[in-house]
Structures are given as C-alpha cells and as structure tokens.
C-alpha cells in the first residue's frame, strides 16, 4: 500500500530543492551539510504513511501525495502594505516567510535578542544552533520531518539568553501566496536558563489556492525557562498542512501552548513535549472546521522524570462533512513518580455527517502518580439552548452563541490580546453562517 519511495522526492521537489540549496552560505558548514544529507537519505528510504499505519489511521494523506508541489525559489515581492492585515501590534519582533522563503523587507526585530533567519543565524551562532537543530524533531521515522530537514535553509531562529524575560511576543508569520508551492518552514527556539518569552507562529495565505506547508518547530527549554507558544493554523481552505512541534523541557521549566487549527483541507499537527524533573506543560488546542476539512491533532506528553505536571484541554467543533481527529498520549516513564497529569478531549458535532475520532491514551509505568483523562462527544446541551431561548434568543442564535462559547474557552487562553480578539472574531464568523 505504501507509495513508491522515490515519488515524494520528485513530487515534492527534493531534487530541485537540493540543487537550489547547494550554493547557500550555510552549506559551507560541514555539520549542516551532513545533517541535510542524512535527511535526504531518510527521505529516500521512508514512505508516505497510509491509513494502515496506526498513527495515520484516520488521516488519509494520499491526496497530498497525488499532487505535485515545488518549493519556491525566489524571494517575494510583497511589501508591508500587502501584509498589513496579517500583522499584530505590539510585538517585539516579526519574522515573515513567504512560501517558505525569508522576506527581510517584511521582518523587523526590536527585541534585543536574536530573532533571525536560520540561513543567516546558522553562521553567526553555529555552535549554539548545531547543538539543538534537528536534535529534537526526529527525522529517522517520519518522512515529513525528514523532508523538512532535507530542505533546511530559511527558518526562524529565536535565541533567548539566560535570564532574559521578553515582555512582548515574537511573531513568526508564514505566508503562502502561490499555487502548488511547497514550503518547509523551520523554527528553532532556544530558551536559556530562567528566560521567558512568548512565541506566536501564524500560518496564513494570501489567496485560496492549494499548496503544501510542511513545518517543523523545535524548542529547547533550559532549566526554569518559561515559554508560551501560540500556534495558529489558518491556511487556505484547499491547502495541505503538516506540522510538527517538538519541545524538550528541562528541569523546572514551563511550556504553555495553545494551538488553533481552522484552515487547510487536510491538516495534521503533531506536538511532542518531553518533560524533565519538575517541568510543567499545558497543551491546549482547538480545531474549528467545516465543509470537507480534516484536522488531525496528535500530541504526546512524555513525563520522563519525576514531579512533572501537565494539563491539556483539546476541543473540536466539526460541521459539514468535516472530520476531526485527536490522539492525545500521556506517557509516564518508569521512575517518573509524583507525575500529575490531566487531559480532557471535548468534542462538538454540528452536522449529521460530521465525524470525530478521539483517543485519549495513557501509558503509565510508575505507581505514585495522578493521571486522569476524559473524553466527551456530543451536541449542544438542550437545557442550555432552552435557557437562552427563554431569554428571547432564536434557536439559531442560541446555538451559535453556545457553539462560540464552546470554542472561546480555548481561545481565551491565548496570552496575546490582539490575537485573541482576532480569533474570537473569526470563531464568531464561523458560528454565524
């Protein structure tokens, strides 16, 4: 059933891309070149997952493999005016990638720390980046992460020195403009001991065309670091989005994330957080989909050491003939005593042909732990609808309001006010149709 090995190489432009990237300054670095060569090799061996793979049972990516995408070569001609609607006020720094290519004319940095394009940063901060880049997002087993690594070139690098606490968020905007383009955005965040920052990753498009985004984000949190991560996937409704984020949280560090999935025809987001002793994490998510969309979220929270704490709330609102998938794995490794973990998967089906597949999964190898999970699937509560109707709201208005409130619970957890309001407006638009 697996697709022929060489197919993604050709279809997704690896051969072209490889030639393109051969001459970049970064490729002068031996380790960087080797890393990419290893990834290229893995791409040749790995196959595109099918629904026969347990991890991809409900998400059929064959429509992606059937199409042909080419990576963009040129820098874009967009100006600040073109992207005015995509900017967020009050950010410390902004990095913009158009079709995966760094757009310096759209980016700025007032943060006082390194927020730069990977191709540049890798020369200036080679040792720091070498120690972390591709060390967290494994590309041995995942064809998508191998592809991303094979294409390593442009990407966001955020280096937060020890003890530095950024007040304002760093905004990374991935903008798609071209039909049939493949982009391989990469993001690497390294947080020094006791540092703090907020990172926003926003995936958007200028036009409703089909393209492929295959993103990988890696974060390394040193001891006592505190990172807030907001990931908003609002790609074009006919696009394909495969994203992966791997977080390594050192002792007593804290990782808080909210991820929103509302775009793309087929999207898949994998979040993998490894918690060392006393580390904490919250991983909240909302999939708000309609029409023929498919949104798949796979999360793994790995309690690798004692005294970790994790909280997770994942919600799906599914209309039309859309299909939401959630697989939330919580792992408690041997010796990770006093782990405290709670996970909730809440799902709302809005139409008779909408579908949910959810699997909250626990794997526990330690006895002195508190682990709980819960999952619910259903429709709006009849009593709540009745209550609103008794206050004079129409049936439809009552339903819309309750649906919005259901989703807003997750949106409210986003720590950036401007983004929060934007997303709430979008959720309102979703519910009032």
């Amino acid at each position: 059933m697996s697709r022929a090995l060489s197919q993604p190489l050709v279809l997704w432009g690896l051969l072209v891309g490889d030639a393109l990237l051969g001459a970049t300054p970064a490729s002068a670095l031996t380790w960087f070149k080797q890393l990419r060569a290893q990834a290229v090799e893995r791409v040749g061996v790995l196959t595109v997952p099918t629904t026969r793979d347990e991890d991809w049972r409900f998400t059929d990516v064959s429509p992606i493999a059937m199409l042909s995408f080419q990576p963009a070569r040129n820098t874009s001609g967009q100006t600040l005016v073109d992207i005015a609607g995509f900017m967020l006020p009050e950010v410390a720094a902004r990095l913009v990638f158009v079709d995966g290519v760094y757009a310096p004319q759209l980016s700025r940095n007032d943060s006082g720390i390194v927020v730069a394009n990977l191709a540049d940063a890798v020369l200036a901060h080679a040792s720091e980046i070498e120690a972390q880049l591709a060390r967290h997002a494994d590309f041995q087993d995942s064809v998508f992460s191998a592809l991303n690594t094979a294409f390593l070139h442009d990407g966001a690098v955020v280096l937060i020195p020890r003890g530095v606490r950024l007040e304002k968020p760093v905004h990374v905007l991935y903008l798609a403009t071209r039909e049939a383009a493949a982009s391989y955005p990469r993001c690497l965040l390294i947080a020094g001991a006791g540092s703090a920052a907020t990172l926003i990753e926003d995936y958007r498009s200028l036009s409703e065309v089909a393209y492929l985004t295959n993103a990988v984000t890696e974060m390394a949190l040193a001891q006592d670091a505190h990172i807030k991560h907001v990931r908003v996937q609002r790609e074009s409704g006919v696009a394909f989005h495969i994203g992966q984020c791997v977080v390594s949280a050192a002792k007593a560090s804290r990782y808080e994330s909210v991820s929103i999935a509302q775009g793309a025809r087929i999207s898949r987001y994998g979040l993998n957080v490894q918690l060392c002793a006393g580390a904490e994490c919250t991983a909240d998510g909302l999939a708000l989909i309609d029409g023929e969309q498919l949104a798949d979220t796979h999360t793994t929270i790995d309690h690798a050491a004692p005294d970790g704490r994790s909280r997770q709330l994942h919600k799906c609102i599914v209309g039309g003939t859309a299909h939401a998938v959630f697989n939330g794995k919580v792992m408690v490794r041997r010796g990770a005593q006093h782990t405290d973990s709670a996970q909730a998967s809440r799902n709302l089906l809005l139409s008779p042909r909408a579908r949910i597949d959810t699997k909250p999964q626990l794997e526990i190898f330690a006895d002195d732990v508190k682990c709980a999970h819960g999952a619910t699937v259903g429709q709006l509560d009849a009593d709540e609808v009745f209550y609103l109707r008794s206050r004079g709201l129409s049936e439809q208005a009552a339903r819309d309001l309750l649906t919005f409130a259901f989703g807003a619970e997750v949106i409210e957890r986003i720590p950036v006010a401007a983004l929060r309001e934007q997303l709430k407006a979008q959720a309102l638009a979703y519910t009032h149709h």
Binding site: L349, P352, R355, I356, L362, A372, A375, V377, Q379
Partner: protein, 477 residues
C-alpha cells in the same frame, strides 16, 4: 501466589493422571488433512467441514496481529496437536489430590463438591453426578432450553448451529478466530426459546456433557424473543493445563427483548515469577444485539494466563438495545493483559456502559483497549465508559487506549479514566484500626472493584474477591 502453588499447577501430570494418550492424540501439525480428520472424528455434516476449510483457507492468508501491547515469542502452529480425544483426568478419591491444591480451595472457599470436580476427581466417586445431571437436564428440558456441548448440538440441532455459527464472529474475522473456526473441537451450545427465562444460571461447572473442550473452544448462545439467560464460564481454581495457546470464540445472539448475561472468571496458569510458562489466552468474544430492546452484558474477572488478549464486544444493531461490559483485570509478576471491549452502535437509541478496572503488580503490564463507535445511523446513542487503573509497585505498567469514533451528532459519548495506587495513608488508616497490610490491600482492592463484582452472581463474587487477595499475596508490604 506462592511458588509451591505455581509449581503445582505447572505439573499437572505429576501423579500420572493420563495413560494411553497416543491412540487419541492427533499428530502435531495443521493442514487440510488435520481439519478433515477432526471433522471426520466428530462425524460432522458436510457444511461444517466446508466452514472449517474456508476458515483455514482464509487463515493462511492472514498475518498474526502485532498491534496489541503484549510481547511473546512466535507461536509455531505446526507444533500443536489439534485433536485429542477427551480424557478427563480421574483420581479415585480426594485423598489422592495434592494437599497444596486442597489448601487453595480452602482459601478460595470453593464448595466441597466442586473441589472434587476441579481437582480432577471423577465426580461420581464423590456424589451421584448422574442424578444431579438428570435433575438439571429435566428442569431445562421442561422449559425448552437446550444446553449441551457444541458437538452434540451439531448432531441434534444442526439447523440452529448452521443458522447462527459464524453470524457474529465470521470465520475470517481475525487471525485467531479464523484458526478457531478451522480447528475448534468443542464448547458449549445454549438455546433459550422464545419467552423463556432460563430457570437457573447455566454454568460450565454443571454442563451435562463434561468433556474437556480443549484449547480451541467454541461457544454459541442464542436467546430468542423475550428470552433471558445468565451464563457462567470458568473456574476460580487454577486450572491444570499445559496448553500454551487458547484461542476460543464465543458468540452471543440476542433477538427482540432478549437478555444475555455472560460472566467469566478466568484463572489459568499465569507462568512462574520469572514469566516462564503460562497460557496465552487469545479469545474472540462478541455478542450481537440483533433485536430491538435486547441486552447483552459481559462481566469478566481476568486474573490468570501469561497473556490475556480479549475484547468481549457488543454489536448493537437492534433499536434501543443495550451493551454492557464490566471487567476486572489483574496482572502480577510477568503477566500481560490487553483487554477491553468494543461497543458498536448501529441502531437508534442504543446504549452502552463500560466499567473497567485494571490492577497491575509486580513487573506486569495491563492495558485497557476499547472502542466505542457510533455509526451515522445510531441517532440518540449513548455511551459511558470508565476505566480505572491501580498500580501496585513501581515496576509495573498500566495503559489505556480508548478509541472513540463518533459519526452522529445526536450521540452522547463520555469517557473517563483515572490512575491511582494504594496509598501509605490508606494502609496506615487500616493499621490503626488493627487491620494488617495484607487484609487492608484486599479490602481496598475490593472497594476498587466493587462496581464489577456487584455484577457477578453471588457465589462467583465471593470467590473472585478471595481470588484477587490470593493472587496479590506478597505484592504489598
């Protein structure tokens, strides 16, 4: 469990129970010839041989499943003998039974007359089995209930067997079900006619035909419109058995307003403390709620076997039908259990309830794996699942894999799971009231499992309670 006891259960033939085996045991190996031989020995009709051969053909094309969270060396299916004539182990009297085993019975509180039977003593030496059998047989026949071995049913009621066998678990359903369909040797058959409430709990203890059913057991229970039955399977004492692989198939069919309750207490040999030996219990159990308002309830207490791998399931096809699953799975030492249920909601207004309690001790691994599927047709379907794990010691594992698949917006599905341990403070509380650690653990576990034990018939519940205590001896404190 004490080593002495384990050693004991590992040596069933120590006292020379069996003589003259050769003539009744088929040569090892599996082929169409083996299947023809089994069918011929049992004088089966042509259609059943066809059924077996088809299943075998299908089995050859299948791969051994690798997805369960259990690990074991590859099974050599050619090294198994697929037919041996029933040979009940007979001892002349209770005096010949190993005293260790008798002590186990004592601890479990197994009634005197059952002890004899469980120990392999010919029942008629102790009490008049003929009269007992006759009494039961008469009582059941009066109301029209058929309860016999599946071989007998094939001979006496071929039309019923033919109609229902394979209708719930098709011959090619899964690897082990296909194998079972090809080579099953015996099992139970139970038919409750229209409107009949079975006057007694049917138990394999008292099956009129007392033949051993071997490692490929096949059970078929049919409850017609408005009928109801409670069926008990298994035994709380360690079973003498050297068979490595048990691949049984159980099919239940409930027609309109019918009610089937199926209870299992399984305590097969689990291997020694180092994980050597023990039974692989790979069972396919499935009930079909075919009629409206029908109900199928599974209750299981799984404490034995080196590997337990089973998912008693309900296909809720009839409108407003109900499926229930109550389970306690205990693993100790190197035992592995991957068990749970599947609730497939097809009909409107169908309801299901899952209560699963997993207890892991030693270096064992205990997994709950469940599926709740709401088909688009199942308007207003309702499910509630709860699976709790209790870990004893820091070397064991507890896992939960609940698959929830919902395709109808009017359905309501709830799942919750928790993990806990026996706390020092709890033990202290007991100690302060003069209750020792061992007894305290037993009480805590009983509380943990209460919702499931309540579903068991009374005698079973008492035995199951004591069994858990016995299995966990030495795990705490």
């Amino acid at each position: 469990m004490s080593t002495a006891l384990q050693n004991l259960v590992n040596q069933p033939y120590k006292h020379g129970f069996v003589t003259d085996i050769e003539s009744d045991v088929a040569a090892k190996g599996l082929s169409t010839d083996t299947i023809r031989m089994i069918s011929a020995k049992k004088q089966e009709p042509e259609w059943l041989l066809e059924f077996r051969l088809k299943a075998y053909e299908h089995w050859l094309t299948m791969e051994e499943p690798r997805w369960p969270n259990v690990h074991y060396p590859k099974i050599d299916f050619q090294a198994i003998s697929y037919y041996s004539a029933p040979k009940p182990k007979k001892l002349a009297s209770m005096d010949e039974v190993d005293p260790e085993l008798l002590r186990t019975f004592e601890k479990l509180g197994v009634p005197m007359n059952e002890r004899a039977k469980l120990a392999g003593v010919a029942v008629d030496v102790i009490f008049d089995s003929v009269s007992v059998a006759t009494t039961y047989k008469q009582k059941l026949a009066d109301v029209g209930v058929i309860f016999c071995s599946i071989s007998e049913a094939v001979r006496e009621h071929p039309e019923l067997v033919r109609q229902y066998m394979g209708s719930v678990v098709p011959a090619g359903d899964n690897y082990y079900a296909a194998l079972n369909s090809a080579v099953f040797t015996d099992g139970s058959f139970c038919f409750i006619p229209k409107g009949v409430k079975c006057p007694m709990e049917l138990s394999t203890y008292f099956r009129i035909n007392t033949e051993e059913s071997g490692q490929f057991e096949r059970t078929l229970i049919i409850a017609e419109d408005g009928a109801s039955v409670s069926y008990l399977e298994g035994c709380t004492a360690p079973k003498f058995d050297t068979n490595q692989l048990h691949a049984a198939v159980v099919e239940l069919v409930a027609l309109n307003d019918a009610d089937i309750k199926y209870s299992t207490v399984q305590n097969w040999y689990a291997g020694d403390e180092n994980g050597k030996g023990g039974i692989y219990n790979f069972v396919t159990k499935r009930g079909l709620c075919k009629g409206v308002n029908s109900r199928i309830s599974w209750t299981q207490v799984e404490t034995g076997s080196a590997i337990t791998w089973k998912y008693p399931s309900c296909v809720l096809r009839g409108e407003n039908s109900t499926g229930e699953f109550y389970s306690v799975a205990l693993t100790n030492h190197h035992q592995q259990a991957d068990t749970g249920t599947k609730m497939i909601h097809i009909g409107k207004g169908t309801r299901s309830r899952i209560i699963s309690k997993g207890i892991s001790a030693g270096v064992s691994n205990n997994s709950y794996r469940g599926l709740v599927r709401i088909a688009p047709t199942a308007a207003g379907a309702r499910n509630f699942s709860q699976c709790d794990s209790l870990l004893i010691g820091d070397q064991c594992g507890a896992h939960t894999f609940p698959y929830i698949q919902v395709g109808n917006p009017t359905a309501k599905v709830e799942h919750e799971a928790s993990t806990s341990k026996i706390g020092e403070d709890q033990l202290f509380y007991f100690a302060q009231r003069g209750i020792g650690a061992e007894e305290a653990v037993s009480l805590i576990i009983n509380g943990f499992c209460k919702e499931v034990f309540q579903q068991l018939p009374m005698e079973f519940a008492v035995e199951a309670t004591q069994l858990l205590g016995l299995k966990l001896e030495g795990s705490v404190g």
